[in-house]
């Protein structure tokens, strides 16, 4: 089962490598990983998408918690949450027909064209992983995907519940 874990940790050199090392050393899967400082400069926040049964997840959570730099870890999948991922995708847009199609599909997915070249459009779409997959499959029916990049997901719990020190 797919899980989204949110981790709050000290913004110290090496703390990210400890997390990544832990996952590889214990053969836990990483589907995606995002990391950035938070509004409090001394803290970083990591979102990891992973998969595994309850036992594996329990070990992941315990093992991550055991790292000295980690302040908190929570499994967002357990409760209702907002999940987002950013996609930038470069599409072949040779003629009017494909250009209109790309624009139309981008609109449906609330995407934006953020750059255009002579023969290419670059589209930005945000949403959960499923929505981005759906977008990619819709545009690939109309034109060729030249390049794409995804941010990996970030997530936050709905409502009052907050991950903070």
């Amino acid at each position: 089962m797919r899980r989204i874990l949110a981790i709050l940790l000290e913004n110290e050199p090496g703390s990210l490598s400890r997390i990544v090392g832990l996952f590889s050393q214990r053969a836990f899967n990483i589907e995606s990983l995002t990391v950035a400082p938070t509004e409090d400069e001394s803290l970083s926040r990591i979102t990891i998408a992973t998969s595994g049964d309850d036992c594996v997840l329990e070990q992941i959570v315990k093992q991550v918690n055991k790292l000295i730099d980690v302040i908190k870890i929570t499994d967002l999948t357990e409760r209702s949450h907002v999940e987002r991922e950013l996609l930038l995708i470069k599409l072949l847009a040779m003629n009017d027909k494909t250009r209109t199609e790309v624009k139309r599909i981008a609109d449906i997915f609330r995407g934006n064209i953020v750059d255009i070249g002579k023969q290419v459009y670059t589209v930005q779409v945000t949403g959960d992983a499923e929505k981005l997959d759906a977008f990619i499959s819709a545009v690939s029916n109309e034109t060729e995907v030249i390049e794409s990049v995804r941010s990996g997901c970030v997530g936050i719990a709905r409502g009052e519940k907050a991950l903070r020190v």
């Binding site: 090392g21 036992c55 070990q59 055991k66 302040i71």
Partner: protein
């Protein structure tokens, strides 16, 4: 008045002295020469120069296991630091508190593949509890204080501190501040068990008919053996220790069933397999204990007490997990028993003990005593050492058959008396660990029990022993082979002894003598007692006793591979 300023190197030494460190174990090199210079200029902290950095880590480790104080290692960048890796891993696997100060090239050179640069923090990442890089010299004292705190609290373990050369040099100075009362917002190990779980545990124990107390190194690490003994006596429960837990309760206590696991006693493994409740205290269900986890104690309710939550339900699912320090939790259990008026189920206990005595009567540790002119059995040597030292020695072992014979035939009265690499199984650990223990307890007998294979892995330390006058007694059960490997080859690989013989062994007597020590060889059964007594009577010089033992001897009992805990070979070709 102007404030006194110190170099980073001076700060390192001042911090160690503030933390009451008596000894550091190490080896100099370019990146840490400033620290060596600072050591030269003071008398608080004594440096012990080993001959190989791996030995420094094991020596610090042995010192720690014997005393409970954090061991400190100092190594230069690059090869010095990488030589520490095996010792760091050894400490990590057995949860031994250790601080390794590793030199590093100057900050400006880091990442340039500079001379003697290795990323030691990276190399050691999977085998440390934590690591620190120093990037400001004023931070050094507090980083070292934090390193000590982390190494020695919660589940203990090794911590690496990387010290770049430019943090240490005389050109840079700063003020010295140290805060030894460390608090970290991201690290607050759980101390006490959850009251609800304590209640559940006591209820489960009270309802048990076939309780077994199963303890590990956690008891030794937290010096909780008196409490354990009280608890066991109150419950009148059978108790078994892991290899790491030996000495947690006296080896001759009537409730003690012997070690369990791969080479454990039949009664210990049988009791585990037939238990309805297992109270696990500071033990982590290592695979050398459980054997096949699928077949492990199917009918038992497992109460698992451990300070490290990751150890709980990692391999064996715990029905009642209790996170906390094992001594604190044992106190809680007793309080709860007092509060709820715990009474033993004497009828069930009588039945249970009857059953256990039946298993005990098999005497699974008995070996075939040799006829007069036969080869010496290794077990006899251990038994003789027990007699001579009245069971009071510190026994440090290497890894192999001799280690198991020591664990089986030397009943340890006290914790910290048995010092061996249980988790990693590091050959080469024994001699330096014994040196550490001897340094701590110069008046006690400290034995290194070893094999012809293991002892050669750090034999250069005989030189260190001479320099610092560390008269340990080395007893090598010399079977001219890598005995444990050979045993597996006999039992599992059709007797094909691929690379398990030691060809061209040195003359150990001459070798010991050449280092300035006493060498004694024991060849015949008839001279075993006399010569061992002679060796142990020498108290002011190191004695290397080379005992030629029967090379065909196997360690029994032994669990059948992939079987249940109590599927055991009792002797060659005979299952329990």
């Amino acid at each position: 008045m102007t404030k006194e300023l110190y170099t980073g190197a001076e700060m390192v030494v001042k911090a160690l002295s503030a933390l009451k460190v008596k000894y550091i174990f190490g080896y100099p090199g370019g990146s840490v020469l400033d620290i060596y210079d600072a050591i030269f200029n003071q008398d608080d902290v004594e440096h012990i120069l080993v001959r190989h950095e791996q030995a420094a880590t094991h020596m610090a480790d042995g010192y720690t296991r014997a005393t409970g104080e954090v061991g400190v290692v100092l190594a230069t960048s690059g090869p010095g630091a990488t030589n520490c890796v095996t010792g760091i891993a050894t400490a990590y696997m057995d949860s031994i508190p250790m601080v390794v100060l590793a030199g590093q090239v100057a900050t400006s050179l880091i990442g340039d593949d500079a001379f003697q640069e290795t990323d030691i923090v990276g190399c050691s990442r999977p085998i440390v509890k934590h690591s620190f890089n120093c990037r400001k010299l004023e931070d050094i004292p507090n980083i070292i204080a934090k390193a000590f705190y982390i190494a020695n609290s919660g589940r203990p373990g090794p911590v690496v501190v990387e010290l770049p050369k430019d943090m240490l040099i005389p050109q840079n100075k700063g003020e010295f501040h140290i805060d030894t009362d460390v608090q970290l917002r991201s690290y607050n190990p759980t101390v006490k068990g959850h009251p609800k779980q304590i209640k559940k545990a006591v209820q489960t124990i009270a309802n048990a008919e076939r309780l077994v107390v199963y303890t590990g190194g956690g008891i030794v690490l937290s010096d909780a053996s008196e409490q354990l003994t009280t608890l066991v006596e109150r419950l009148n429960a059978p108790i078994t220790n892991t290899l790491m837990g030996l000495g947690g309760i006296s080896g001759v206590h009537p409730n003690f069933l012997g070690m369990l696991g791969m080479h454990g006693s039949l009664e210990a493994n049988k009791a585990m397999a037939n238990a309805d409740v297992i109270l696990a205290l500071g033990a982590r269900f290592d695979d050398r204990v459980t054997n096949n986890v699928q077949k492990f104690c199917p009918n038992a309710t497992i109460i698992h007490v451990d300070v490290d939550p990751t150890s709980i339900s990692k391999t064996i699912n715990a029905h009642i997990p209790v996170v906390g320090l094992v001594d604190k939790v044992m106190a809680q259990l007793m309080e709860e028993m007092d509060a709820t008026g715990y009474e033993r189920n004497e009828a069930a206990l009588t039945n249970w003990w009857q059953q256990i005595e039946e298993w005990r009567s098999v005497n699974s540790f008995s070996y075939q005593a040799p006829a007069e002119d036969d080869k010496i059995k290794p077990q006899q040597v251990v038994e003789a050492m027990y007699e001579i030292t009245k069971g009071e020695a510190y026994v440090c072992s290497d890894v192999g058959q001799h280690q198991m014979f020591a664990a089986q035939y030397y009943p340890f009265a006290k914790p910290r008396q048995w010092i061996n690499s249980g988790g990693l199984g590091t050959m080469g650990f024994g001699l330096p660990a014994a040196m550490g223990a001897k340094l701590a307890f110069p008046d006690s007998h400290v034995i290194c029990i070893t094999g012809d294979g293991s002892v050669q892995m750090n034999i250069q330390e005989l030189s260190t022993c001479l320099q610092y006058n560390l008269p340990v007694v080395i007893v090598s059960l010399n079977n001219r082979s890598l005995g444990m490997v050979r045993q597996w080859q006999d039992m599992i690989y059709g007797g094909r002894h691929s690379s398990s013989y030691m060809e061209s062994l040195p003359d150990f007597v001459k070798l010991a003598e050449s280092y300035g020590h006493v060498g004694i060889q024991i060849n015949h059964l008839s001279e075993l007692d006399e010569k061992l007594n002679e060796a142990f009577a020498i108290r002011n010089r190191l004695v290397f006793v080379d005992v030629l033992v029967d090379e065909k001897e196997h360690v029994y009992p032994m669990q059948v591979r992939h079987g249940a805990v109590d599927d055991m070979w009792i002797k060659k070709g005979e299952k329990a």
